[in-house]
């Protein structure tokens, strides 16, 4: 059966990895391609690069990063952040990314999902959803602009809608859990992965290998993503996989150095 995917996420600004990385053995801890290659060799199933550059130059630099990553990596990778048009998608995919991830632009302009899926195939189009719970209304709302703006969209409705438009995968981030390191938002991940027919990547809250076991055994999520716990070597990818395997989940096993 298909394996559960473990996906490290790299935040990249102006061509450099941000959110400090403390890997032993990296010549240049800020080099996204070197870090990505390390993850490739140490068991990552896939990678996500999130471009948080604010400037035009920064975004251009990202294209170079993507091209270099595509020439080095033996696993698939997704690029998100600041993609606003089919032209932006074309540039990133031509540079060698396997998928593009749309967030704010998808909410502002849902046709972009449709257009992208038609041009490049649904499997290339990931819709990233930033979700935050509203206790009063008992609803998760979709947020945009890096979590700064709340929309009127209920996360479950939006997730179903983007799949209808042609999204091939959903990258679901819990804003409530993000950075908390006390586990994924199981009820959110369960609700969304039950509601849609495409694979879901759970994100936000991973603090230990046990958290991955929990999200995979208690929800239908296909993949789980984390950033800092991998970057700071608090949790090792193969350690996560070993624990998953012990609990009866299928994972891709590789022998690391």
């Amino acid at each position: 059966m298909i394996t559960k995917r473990i996906i490290p996420c790299l935040d990249v600004k102006d061509g450099r990895v941000v959110k400090g990385v403390s890997f032993v053995g990296l010549r240049d801890a800020g080099d996204p391609v070197e870090l990505a290659s390390l993850y490739d060799q140490t068991g990552a199933d896939e990678l996500v690069f999130l471009d948080i550059s604010a400037s035009h130059e920064g975004r251009k630099t990202m294209i170079d990063v993507v091209r270099l990553a595509a020439s080095k990596l033996t696993i698939p990778f997704t690029v998100g952040g600041g993609i606003r048009s089919v032209e932006d998608m074309t540039k990133i995919l031509r540079a060698g990314a396997d998928k593009v991830s749309l967030n704010t632009a998808a909410v502002l302009n849902p046709e972009l999902i449709q257009e992208g899926a038609r041009r490049f195939g649904a499997q290339c189009i990931v819709v990233a959803i930033d979700a935050k719970y509203d206790a009063k209304e008992d609803i998760w709302f979709v947020y945009t602009h890096g979590g700064r703006e709340r929309t009127d969209w209920n996360v479950l409705d939006w997730a179903k809608h983007v799949v209808e438009l042609g999204a091939g995968e959903i990258l679901l981030t819990s804003m409530d859990q993000d950075g908390q390191k006390n586990g994924f938002d199981l009820s959110l991940v369960r609700a969304v992965s039950d509601a849609v027919t495409v694979p879901v990547i759970a994100s936000g809250g991973a603090g230990s290998a046990e958290d991955f076991v929990e999200v995979f055994t208690k929800t239908k999520t296909s993949a789980a993503l984390a950033a800092s716990i991998f970057h700071y070597e608090e949790v090792d990818i193969m350690e996560v996989k070993a624990l998953l395997r012990e609990r009866g989940e299928e994972v891709r096993w590789i022998s690391t150095r």
Partner: protein, 200 residues
């Protein structure tokens, strides 16, 4: 020299870089002469079946690929490229394929997420000279349609996604891989290398 056939369906950069890392000479081309002169052909592809056949025929490549394959030139179809090797597909209508292998392309239909996306185990079903030395392992799939081959002996490897999914097909010099070898870690690189290096 391996010709990677460029017909506007998907990104060929990762595939070309994988061949480069393996030290195999390649050219990305839609030129008929170059394709004729190449030692081996790779037909990649991402997108819809009908569009792909149309793009091939626009470039007058349909017959050329079929002729080259019939004359014995090794041909590797990857992902949609593998599906195109077969008789027909019902993706958004009915479309004829290259018909180098006999079988239909159908939509995946199971109570699991679709696309079938991620790493899945490659189980060898029939021995094939190219892949004899390889151990089974995980490779990266991403597809919503799959091949139902008419001749079970053409199916070299399958993967399990609540049912057996055709993963590698081969008949003489015509090979297909539903997964992406260029995105499938070390095993993927070995599979590509075997095609590029092997005699068939």
């Amino acid at each position: 020299m391996i010709a990677i056939i460029d017909y506007g369906m998907g990104n060929l950069f990762s595939l070309s870089q994988a061949l480069q890392r393996l030290d195999h000479e390649y050219v990305i081309t839609d030129d008929m002469d170059t394709i004729q002169q190449a030692d081996k052909l790779i037909l990649p592809g991402v997108g819809a079946f009908g569009d792909a056949m149309e793009e091939l025929s626009k470039r007058k490549l349909t017959n050329l690929i079929v002729e080259e394959a019939i004359q014995g030139k090794p041909l590797l179809g990857i992902c949609l490229g593998m599906q195109l090797l077969f008789t027909s597909s019902d993706e958004h209508g009915y479309y004829s394929g290259l018909n180098l292998l006999s079988g239909q392309v159908e939509k995946l239909n199971m109570d699991l997420p679709i696309p079938h996306m991620g790493w899945n185990w490659l189980s060898f079903r029939h021995p094939h000279p190219l892949f004899r030395s390889l151990e089974e392992g995980h490779v990266y799939f991403v597809h919503s349609y799959h091949v139902k081959a008419t001749n079970s002996e053409d199916v070299i490897a399958t993967t399990d996604y609540s049912e057996d999914i055709t993963a590698i097909v081969a008949r003489k010099n015509v090979i297909g891989m539903q997964f992406h070898p260029e995105k499938s870690g070390q095993l993927g690189m070995q599979l590509l290398h075997q095609f590029a290096e092997g005699r068939i």
